[in-house]
């Protein structure tokens, strides 16, 4: 990841919009700090899509059909 000391207006606007969409009330200083690394992080995320080995692979996600939630304090094992 390449760290920068400044971010472009476009990068700052993009980060501000993303955080607003998630309703995270970050300060302007936080937005500017996050924007400095945002482009490099996006490139790293894009790289996740380039591995041919992942083209037909199931994700490490599994939905379980068991309906009941077992509280951790209700069972001693």
């Amino acid at each position: 990841m390449t760290d920068k000391t400044t971010a472009t207006d476009e990068e700052i606007a993009e980060v501000r919009a993303l955080l607003a969409e998630a309703r995270l009330p970050a300060s302007e200083a936080e937005i500017r700090t996050l924007a400095m690394t945002h482009r490099a992080q996006r490139e790293a995320v894009h790289d996740l899509y380039t591995a041919q080995a992942a083209r037909y692979v199931d994700p490490a996600l599994r939905f379980r059909a068991h309906a009941r939630i077992i509280d951790w304090w209700s069972t001693t094992v």
Partner: protein, 480 residues
């Protein structure tokens, strides 16, 4: 044994030999806390009365011939994101609802109590097991007993510093991106991240549901084995936990690694130009010890390194934001600066990105499992630096510090894969602070990496080194 026990294993033997009592060990641990906790910021809550009562009960059991296993009567710390009935869980945060888990024991804590462990208190953490210290918040700043101007690592900061400072023999930490192994490395102790699913994580405030591991920090690999044997095993409340009980390997204590195949990582990620000047020589010397013990050493390169580092942070941030978003929208500035930086990362990727990260995790899991067809253990540095100055992370500096840290610590890759990894001291950096080596194994082969680490520790004593602060206090006490 005539001197004070240095490890959990030694203490357990001394208790059974009648050379000490649990009350004596506990009183010594509480005295060490009185002497050092203000400097190290180890505890968020101490349970002195409860601990002494537990110690008396352990001694009574010993007197009646009741032996609940190696943790019986042993002073023990629990990271304060894990519920324990004796006090509220804070996660070192202003935000966590103090009624969460109140009056209840997490399954791992219940197992420790059943085993007779003497839990002395709840230890400091980075907020919600993520982020960095924040001196604008009303919590202790965790400091490293090796140099109190430096950070003990996190997020299991207090458990690491407490073991190093002799406040307890072992404790629980959690590891989502390195939070057991980083404090183990910076504090010069041994830490074990078990295989994902080996230990139930329910009753622990979640950080990353698919990445969280609970495991021990202690002086030695043998100590970690004893703790793992106590806390491992399926619990129905954690759908990720598996029925894979762990037993302490019978061949611990043997300085013999004949037949073991060790893959050694020497790539540019683990040995960057800005790493500690002593790192390469120290690591090479540790590998040489493994070879002298009979292991066969081959060079390996970890597959999908950069992708797994990205996937770790992406997954952690997304899963953390899902848990915290309701609070974050209402109480943003109550969170530590470093925590806010991580939560924000979760808002800056898409749902598809998250799923793709999980697809890449499958690919990398397959690749590393195939590598373990050719080697039994993979060795690599835990971090390329020693403990950094704590001032570099305080307050708003935590927001950049938490993101830059992972250029120097090499732990998150393994959280993504779920393999068991042990971190142990291997020497000292150019500044005299501890350096650490990781030993990773195939899923559910903790016995192999523990046996490897134990053999290393049979012929070296890095894991027994005492921070100057503690050694000086011990010498003063002895002189008086």
């Amino acid at each position: 044994m005539t001197s004070s026990p240095r490890t959990l294993t030694e203490a357990a033997a001394a208790l059974r030999a009648g050379e000490t009592t649990s009350v004596a060990l506990t009183e010594a641990a509480l005295a060490a806390a009185d002497a050092h906790d203000e400097q190290t910021g180890t505890y968020l809550a101490r349970f002195d009365d409860y601990a002494l009562a537990s110690a008396h009960a352990a001694d009574t059991d010993f007197g009646n011939g009741v032996d609940r296993g190696p943790l019986q009567g042993i002073p023990f710390g629990v990271k304060d994101i894990i519920a324990m009935a004796e006090g509220p869980t804070t996660a070192q945060s202003l935000v966590l609802d103090r009624t969460w888990g109140a009056g209840r024991d997490a399954p791992v804590v219940a197992r420790l109590k059943t085993a007779g462990a003497v839990i002395t208190g709840k230890t400091s953490t980075m907020e919600f097991a993520v982020g960095m210290p924040d001196d604008s918040k009303p919590f202790p700043i965790p400091r490293n007993p090796w140099d109190t101007d430096t950070w003990p690592g996190g997020s299991s900061s207090g458990t690491g510093s407490g073991v190093a400072a002799g406040l307890f023999f072992a404790g629980l930490g959690t590891d989502t991106g390195g939070s057991i192994r980083i404090p183990a490395a910076f504090c010069g102790v041994t830490g074990l991240m078990p295989t994902f699913g080996r230990v139930p994580k329910s009753g622990c405030v979640p950080l990353g549901y698919s990445l969280d591991h609970i495991g021990p920090l202690a002086r030695s690999a043998s100590d970690c084995a004893a703790v793992l044997a106590t806390i491992a095993g399926h619990h129905p409340s954690d759908p990720d936990s598996v029925s894979a009980p762990f037993r302490v390997p019978e061949d611990l204590g043997k300085a013999d690694l004949a037949g073991l195949r060790v893959g050694v990582v020497r790539d540019e990620h683990h040995f960057p130009d800005n790493g500690d000047p002593a790192l390469l020589d120290t690591f090479s010397a540790a590998v040489a010890v493994l070879a002298e013990l009979g292991a066969t050493v081959v060079e390996v390169r970890l597959p999908y390194w950069s992708q797994m580092c990205t996937a770790n942070m992406l997954t952690l941030a997304c899963e953390a934001l899902a848990y915290h978003r309701s609070d974050a929208t209402e109480r943003w500035t109550d969170f530590f600066a470093g925590t806010r930086a991580i939560l924000a990362q979760g808002a800056m990727v898409s749902g598809a990105d998250y799923v793709q990260a999980q697809r890449m995790r499958r690919v990398a899991q397959d690749a590393i499992d195939r590598m373990f067809d050719d080697v039994d253990v993979i060795a690599c540095p835990t971090a390329s630096i020693t403990a950094p100055p704590v001032r570099d992370y305080l307050g708003e500096r935590g927001s950049t510090g938490v993101l830059s840290l992972f250029a120097s610590v090499h732990t998150g890759y393994w959280d993504c894969l779920g393999n068991p990894v042990l971190a142990m001291p291997m020497g000292f950096g150019a500044n005299g602070l501890p350096l650490s080596v990781q030993l990773a194994g195939r899923a559910f082969t903790e016995a192999t990496i523990l046996r490897t680490a134990d053999a290393f520790q049979q012929v070296t004593d890095w894991h027994l080194a005492t921070p100057p602060l503690i050694a000086a206090a011990t010498a003063t006490t002895a002189a008086a």
